[in-house]
Amino acid sequence: MDLKTKALLKSIWVFHVSAGSCNNCDIEILDCFTPKFDLERFGIQLIGSVRHADALFITGAMNKKAIPRMKKIYEQAAKPCVVVAIGTCACSQHMFRYSYNVGEPLDKILPVDVYIPGCPPKPEAMIAGIKKLVDKIKRGK
């Protein structure tokens, strides 16, 4: 656990990727940065470019058209990069599993570190998920 990973845990920069989501989870992610659940006290920031990202918040039931672009996003994020599946759609594709336009679930495409179920997951659930992520890295993933 050298200084750099310890620093990573204290300042996670988040990039939000939506692959066919109903924008409920996306709004809840933005809700986490508003006054009531301010994530900036943990140093977590929402940033604009993939290159600066440390964590990818992925939402949505994997739409066939969105999958190739999502893979490209994952390649471009500077490693070490964490993947967080937000919402039941990202975890298990929810009720859209048998649709003709939905590919395989997220964990078959990208290595997922944290699953946060809920439709939409409450901001408190997301903060708990991030806390578990930090503990997981501390235990030395």
């Binding site: 739409n63 066939k64 058209k65 003709y100 336009n101």
Partner: protein, 141 residues
């Protein structure tokens, strides 16, 4: 009332006319007169085009153009039956008003009904590698 104006303007073209409730009026028109009917409804009488819905019936394809008469809150639905199931096609109304362009492209993509004269009939929302000739909303493929 608007009903009488429509009946008098389209008297020869209307095949059937029935009202399921006070605010819902369905009347069917032959395939050939569709552009004329839409021009009268949209340009002359000033009805607002809501959308067009196409269904894959056992005997034929059925395309319904829904128009809304906002002041009275009525909906006029123009029904067109396309008997030829192998090569269904109909004149496009996209050059009358640009609003219909996207709606016709969706129907073309989902059910394979060809719209003659459509400015840019391209694939709409399906993934890039969606096989040609395979239409998701058709019942038996």
């Amino acid at each position: 009332m608007l009903r009488d104006k429509i009946k008098e303007k389209l008297s020869d073209k209307i095949l059937a006319w029935y009202e399921t409730s006070v605010k819902r009026i369905y009347f069917s028109v032959d395939k050939k007169h569709i552009t004329e009917t839409v021009k009268i409804l949209f340009c002359d009488l000033g009805l607002r085009f809501i959308t067009a819905s196409a269904t894959d019936l056992p005997s034929s394809f059925e395309v319904i153009y829904h128009f809304s008469n906002d002041p009275q809150g009525e909906i006029y639905s123009v029904r067109v039956l396309l008997e030829d199931k192998l090569k269904p096609e109909i004149d496009s109304i996209a050059n009358l008003f640009p609003g219909a362009e996207w709606i016709e492209r969706e129907i073309w993509e989902m059910l394979g009904i060809n719209f003659k004269g459509h400015p840019n009939l391209k694939k709409l929302l399906l993934a890039d590698d969606w096989p040609e000739g395979k239409y998701p909303l058709r019942n038996k493929q």
